[in-house]
Subunit: 222 residues, 2 copies
């Protein structure tokens, strides 16, 4: 369709700014992860569980992307963690210029980990590189085991996949084997972490995966 061509220069501009974001965080030794999911899959709960597990060991900040409102950044701030709210004003994903502005507000040198909570969407965030070190997606059990078939792109580009709300499996007709097999077909290398963010179930393996990457990038203190 015509607008795909129109979008090309915009994507190029996005990638150029994303590369600047990457350089900024590389120089500071900060690991930046872009967390993507549908509305209500548990992005904020997963971030809260991650903060809880890592706040003693690392200096963390959160960049919150939403169409509107600041409820999520208020939640994060109430835990004593720095949070920058971005309102996209209608756009269904974050772009690298928004992240550049958020990084400008943060004291990046004084951080080890930046968690970006993208806009709730299984489609739009897929196409936009923000300068992050990893893209991680969350699917929740109530959304159904067929989602990899319907939204293959986001499963393909994710470096790790979190299956959240596994404690609700008894309530929903979720075929775990079918889900894992679909994911394996789309993305054989991404680990799948099965968690319940609100109870802490299974969160350790996700934390181990993330910790290894934050440590690898962290600059030794001088």
């Amino acid at each position: 369709m015509a607008h795909l061509d129109l979008e090309k220069p915009l994507l190029e501009r996005n990638d150029r700014l994303a590369a600047e974001n990457k350089k900024l965080t590389d120089d500071a030794g900060v690991f930046m992860v872009d967390l993507m999911a549908s509305p209500g899959a548990g992005k904020t709960s997963t971030i809260l569980a991650t903060i809880e597990a890592l706040r003693e060991s690392y200096r963390i900040a959160v960049i919150e992307g939403d169409i509107a409102s600041d409820v999520d950044s208020q939640t994060i701030k109430s835990k004593g963690i720095t949070a920058v709210q971005i309102n996209t004003g209608g756009a269904c994903h974050l772009e690298s210029d928004m992240i550049a502005r958020a990084l400008g507000v943060l004291d990046v040198e004084a951080l080890d980990l930046i968690i970006i909570e993208n806009v709730g969407n299984l489609v739009c965030p897929t196409d936009f590189y923000l300068g992050e070190d990893a893209k991680v997606m969350i699917l929740s059990v109530p959304e159904g085991d067929d989602k990899p078939l319907k939204y293959p792109g986001i499963f393909q580009i994710s470096d790790a996949i979190i299956l959240n709300k596994v404690d609700t499996t008894p309530v929903f007709d979720f075929d775990r084997e079918a889900f894992l097999s679909s994911v394996q077909g789309l993305n054989p290398t991404a680990p799948v972490f099965e968690i319940a963010a609100t109870t802490g179930q299974g969160v350790e393996s996700w934390i181990d995966w993330l910790t290894a990457r934050v440590d690898k990038k962290k600059k030794p203190l001088r």
Copy 2:
């Protein structure tokens, strides 16, 4: 941002084709409803419950929009109902030219009700008029009561709102009063139907609302 201006002529083209879709269905006396929701909120289950309730009284067809796959249209067809699959190939919403092509495949004169299942997304479908008579959105309880605050646009433009999976309320921390109050603030005139599509709970009021509109548009048989 720059691409909003670039998109303007595309939206105008979309609206022009949508008006043609509207005229086609008006002339045939067919009611067309655009069903929007997040991935996994229960669009297909709601359509199945609607078909079950109305199949004896009306001639129904379904237009299925997905990024990829045809699992939903196969499900609908397995119930003996005509279904046309549209794969958007990455786009996060349906556009009116896709609906025009689907209407070209259907025998519109021989129908009373066309249900469009939009791509699973709370953002993108909001901006695209397809020529439908009504836009209806579904939110499901597991997604959380704060979704009207985060995705106000879709709540504002919907003619009716379905709250699905109300049977799972005991499992989730969903504040019904807060949800209804947020919806009321955004869209005071849209009815909210609280249903569990898979058990049939509460489906009657949704069916009554839809039936009244299908009957109003239906041409008397000659």
